[in-house]
């Protein structure tokens, strides 16, 4: 018998608490699969965001630290600087990374910190019940944009990947999506490349992943994947946004 698909080693057996159909579950699994495939489970340390994934420490079967809201890149920097031969990643939501934690991610990227960020962009604050995120789309209804997000009042959503790509220290920046199986597989390849970028000491790497929050979007999980494809992808183009020359050889 050959195992085609099973629970990765880098996840614990704990059932996930995420809502039905939530993208976090898929993304957790992808990160764990990559860790398994690279054989780095025993030398990987991750950070949890404040957000729905705050208890990711219970799911990832690697050493984990919960960071204060938005500070994951700084926490990861602290870890990586004292343990330079370990693999360090941050797992962050769009509120965590693009709102309160913007300074930290920009500076980790600018420093070319040898860490990898998994950035889950679900265009909303999931954990706190559906408030606007910096990545919420224009017109999107959230509990803090009850009349729809308006450019004049709340400004336009931030394209994090493109913004960070302007920094020299950020050498691998990709935007992927988990709304269907094909893109799930692409996302996994990007995550792998990001970790490899770190393993080869090239610089900072980040994969932005468009993900669903069926609960706070008020949609069924299947509708949510469609909403993502129809609304998010046009504003957030997918692909490898930046592959610095140094990284091009990898993979």
């Amino acid at each position: 018998m050959k195992t085609v698909f099973s629970r990765p080693q880098a996840l614990t057996n704990k059932p996930l608490h995420y809502c039905p159909g939530c993208g976090h579950g898929i993304i957790h699994r992808l990160v764990a699969e990559v860790i398994d495939e690279l054989g780095i489970r025993e030398k990987t340390i991750g950070t949890c965001p404040v957000g729905c994934a705050v208890v990711a420490n219970e799911y990832f079967n690697v050493d984990m630290q919960q960071a204060a809201h938005g500070r994951s890149p700084a926490v990861a920097t602290g870890i990586k600087r004292v343990l330079p031969d370990r693999v360090v990643f941050t797992y962050q939501g769009d509120g965590d990374l693009a709102s309160i934690g913007m300074t930290e991610v920009v500076h980790a990227a600018a420093r070319g910190e040898l860490i990898t960020t998994i950035f889950v962009n679900n265009a909303i604050y999931g954990m706190t019940g559906g408030q606007m995120a910096p990545t919420s789309l224009l017109g999107q209804f959230t509990t803090t944009t009850p009349y729809g997000r308006k450019k004049e009042l709340q400004g336009s959503p931030i394209r994090v990947a493109e913004m960070l790509a302007t920094l020299e220290g950020a050498v691998y920046i990709a935007r992927m999506s988990v709304h269907n199986a094909t893109h799930v597989m692409r996302t996994k390849r990007a995550i792998k490349r990001a970790f490899e970028t770190q393993l080869e000491g090239k610089g900072y790497s980040l994969v932005e992943i468009l993900s669903t929050c069926p609960t706070n979007w008020g949609l069924s999980p299947v509708e949510a994947t469609k909403w993502l494809a129809d609304n998010m992808i046009p504003y957030y183009p997918l692909g490898e946004i930046k592959v610095a020359a140094a990284v091009e050889g990898i993979n």
């Binding site: 614990t12 489970r41 025993e42 030398k43 990987t44 340390i45 950070t47 949890c48 705050v54 208890v55 420490n57 219970e58 990832f60 079967n61 690697v62 050493d63 984990m64 630290q65 919960q66 960071a67 204060a68 500070r71 700084a74 926490v75 990861a76 920097t77 602290g78 870890i79 600087r81 004292v82 343990l83 370990r86 300074t103 930290e104 920009v106 500076h107």
Partner: protein, 365 residues
């Protein structure tokens, strides 16, 4: 090799003592009047193959400290008052996650941007926890450059021993002034950190966390932490006595203010006032019992602080209404021994303490 004294600036003495205490990483952000500390370490840490990193902010610095402490390193950050305010969430995180770390606050005047003159106005913040939730950390308040070095060294030991942050609280003058110092040589013994996130090799994965979802979980967690802090409170009270044996008036003062108070006490003795000093070295835990003991014999207390009156609450809590406790307060000016002397005289007269009025006349003549 004979250990030799060197003349050092307070900020630099902290830096060198930290290195000798085995500090593996420093993360900080510049701010007057403590910038010489990061600057010193920027030079020295690479020489000893250790980490110096200027963080993008105080928030980032304290979070880097959290990460590095969680990864098992001896680690330090420093700042001055406004920057310490920004670290409050992070300090609460460190305390909640049982992480050892050394934090230095070289205080300046506030509130807001305030000024860069020395002050002791962060006493409440330091001892009551400016951050949210119940937590405690040791607060060590040196009064000389030698003590600055010694307590820095010890702060690392205590942080590891209790898995708790330790705060060194000094003021701008201590940071800037120079005195001879005999530096520590050997680092405190390393302690095992099986809980550290160093990679889950040949063991279960480790988790550093502060979220406790269930009401009962969080309650239990807090009760456990409370036990630890009770233990520290029992074991780590530090203070110094000066001319207390026969003192009728007891000055309580810490840090630089205590130095000036000593001078005032000598002057007071010359005019027949039996004054003495109890100098808290650990501000938390506070030397409550020692003060209560002294209160039995004293007729009055004078609390000398460079703020609007903060430590005085702890002194009053300790004396429990037994004797009058008065305040001599400057906020961002190091007080002048003569002014303190005047307060001592006035207090002595009002509380019927011995005083040699003739000598006073002579003095002012």
């Amino acid at each position: 090799m004979v250990r030799k004294k060197v003349l050092m600036k307070g900020n630099e003495a902290i830096g060198e003592a930290a290195i000798r205490a085995g500090c593996q990483a420093f993360f900080g952000y510049p701010i007057t009047p403590q910038s010489e500390l990061p600057e010193y370490l920027a030079r020295r840490m690479p020489e000893v193959d250790m980490i110096f990193l200027q963080a993008e902010s105080e928030l980032a610095a304290i979070s880097m400290v959290y990460g590095a402490a969680g990864a098992g390193a001896r680690v330090m950050t420093s700042s001055s008052s406004p920057g310490i305010s920004l670290k409050q969430e992070g300090i609460s995180m460190l305390a909640g996650a049982d992480l050892p770390a050394v934090i230095v606050n070289i205080m300046r005047g506030g509130p807001g941007i305030g000024g860069i003159q020395p002050s002791q106005a962060d006493y409440f913040q330091a001892t009551r926890g400016g951050g949210h939730g119940d937590y405690r950390h040791l607060v060590l308040a040196p009064a000389s450059i030698q003590e600055l070095a010694d307590l820095t060294w010890e702060a690392f030991a205590l942080a590891d021993q209790y898995r708790n942050p330790v705060l060194i609280l000094g003021d701008g003058m201590l940071g800037q002034m120079m005195e001879p110092v005999l530096l520590p040589e050997e680092p405190p013994p390393l302690v095992d950190k099986p809980w550290a996130t160093t990679g889950a090799k040949d063991r279960e994965h480790n988790e550093i966390y502060t979220l406790h979802m269930g009401m009962e979980d969080l309650e239990k967690h807090n009760q456990r932490l409370a036990k630890k802090w009770e233990q520290i409170a029992r074991e780590q009270v530090r203070y110094d006595k000066f001319m207390l044996d026969d003192a009728e008036i007891v000055i309580v003062a810490f840090g630089i203010a205590s130095r000036v108070a000593r001078r005032a006490i000598r002057m007071a003795r010359e005019v027949g006032i039996k004054a003495g000093l109890l100098r808290p070295i650990s501000l938390w835990p506070f030397p409550t019992a020692a003060i209560a003991e002294v209160a039995k014999q004293a007729r009055a207390f004078l609390v000398v602080e460079m703020n609007l009156g903060q430590m005085i609450e702890d002194v009053r809590l300790a004396t429990g209404g037994l004797v009058p406790v008065e305040l001599f307060s400057k906020i961002t000016i190091v007080p002048n021994p003569k002014e303190i002397l005047q307060s001592l005289c006035s207090l002595a007269r009002r509380t019927g303490c011995k005083i040699d009025e003739a000598a006073i006349k002579e003095e002012s003549a």
